[in-house]
Assembly symmetry: C2
Homo-oligomer: 172 residues x 2
DNA sequence: CCATTCGCTCAACACTTGTTGACCCAATCA
DNA sequence: TGATTGGGTCAACAAGTGTTGAGCGAATGG
């Protein structure tokens, strides 16, 4: 739907707070009241707009796991779906978004921790892997750090891979 | 000053947008108009409140560099100054904060890139090191990722160190 | 042909925000 | 004592917000 697309785009660009119903409506060439009629509230519009199904991690060996992680954080070809960007954009300033991201990352960390070679602190190592990748994604997609702009995602992935494997634990 | 302390605290907790002059004034037991009289505008109050002098990187060898990086991103004892947290909290949703962080990270990346062993892509590797650490800090300090809470900063630093060295490039 | 529904729009409400100008009141000074 | 200054407060403004309820016009159904 046109409204959801405009909403997703604006939420990804400006975050929850700074995106107004009126702006979404204007971007979709529609009356603000219509947005309310369809979605009931700004929060609900946000929820619908950012809805994204996280691909579950199905990897068994570490190599595959790293690749799936890189992909799920947009560090391989294709980048992130705009809904995920919208969620990330708001996660530091919106309680609901923060909660969602926290449990979402938590789940991912649990998966990764379970899949890690039985090093010490698998849960902690997993958390570091995931948050480190999150940081790269933020710098790349949300902050536009200049040294990362225009760098193809695979190149980034290639440089990250060995470091992640070290962080994941002693080679099993 | 009491106003600046309250402002810093609130900015760090809620970000620029969601922190109101009235809330800052109330927290400092002061009239909102007085805050304006002292600082002229909310933006200026923010600037003064988050002002923080980034410790320059003076390291020569990689080990020392990594330690300084960990420290400057709050991953060693002491955590980050509240002003830095406030800046980071707002960086995804406030243009001015985003600009500030981008150039600040850019500077840090340049320093790190210059100090790296002459691997290929030193600038890019430096950017990945810095943003990865940024991500861990966000997860730890701003998002409260459960697997990272209550973990002493040195422990985190210890696990990160080897991975960072790998990411920084082939051992010189 | 009239009544009714349904998608949509308009204008407005209630509230919050940053910001300002008039004002007050105690201390200073002549 | 009387005038003046200066730190501090009060009430208000103008703009922007999410949200709502009355109403419009066209399609639908009898």
């Amino acid at each position: 739907m046109r409204i959801l697309d405009s909403a997703r785009e604006l939420f990804a660009e400006k975050g929850f707070e700074r995106t107004t119903i009126r702006a979404v409506a204007a971007a979709a060439s529609v009356d603000p009241a219509l947005v309310m009629q369809y979605f009931g509230s700004k929060r609900e519009l946000f929820s619908q707009a950012v809805k994204v199904v996280p691909a579950p991690l199905t990897a068994t060996d570490t190599d595959e796991l790293v690749d799936q992680l890189l992909a799920s954080l947009g560090l391989k070809l294709g980048g992130l779906p705009e809904g995920a960007l919208a969620m990330m954009r708001s996660m530091l300033t919106d309680q609901a978004a923060a909660d969602h991201v926290r449990v979402s990352l938590g789940r991912q960390i649990d998966s990764v921790g379970a899949a890690l070679p039985a090093a010490e602190d698998p849960q902690l190592r997993a958390a570091l892997v995931v948050t480190a990748l999150l940081g790269v994604t933020i710098g790349h997609q949300l902050l536009g750090v200049t040294a990362l702009r225009e760098v193809p995602a695979d190149h980034i992935a290639a440089l990250l891979r060995p470091a992640i494997k070290v962080l994941a634990g002693p080679p099993g």
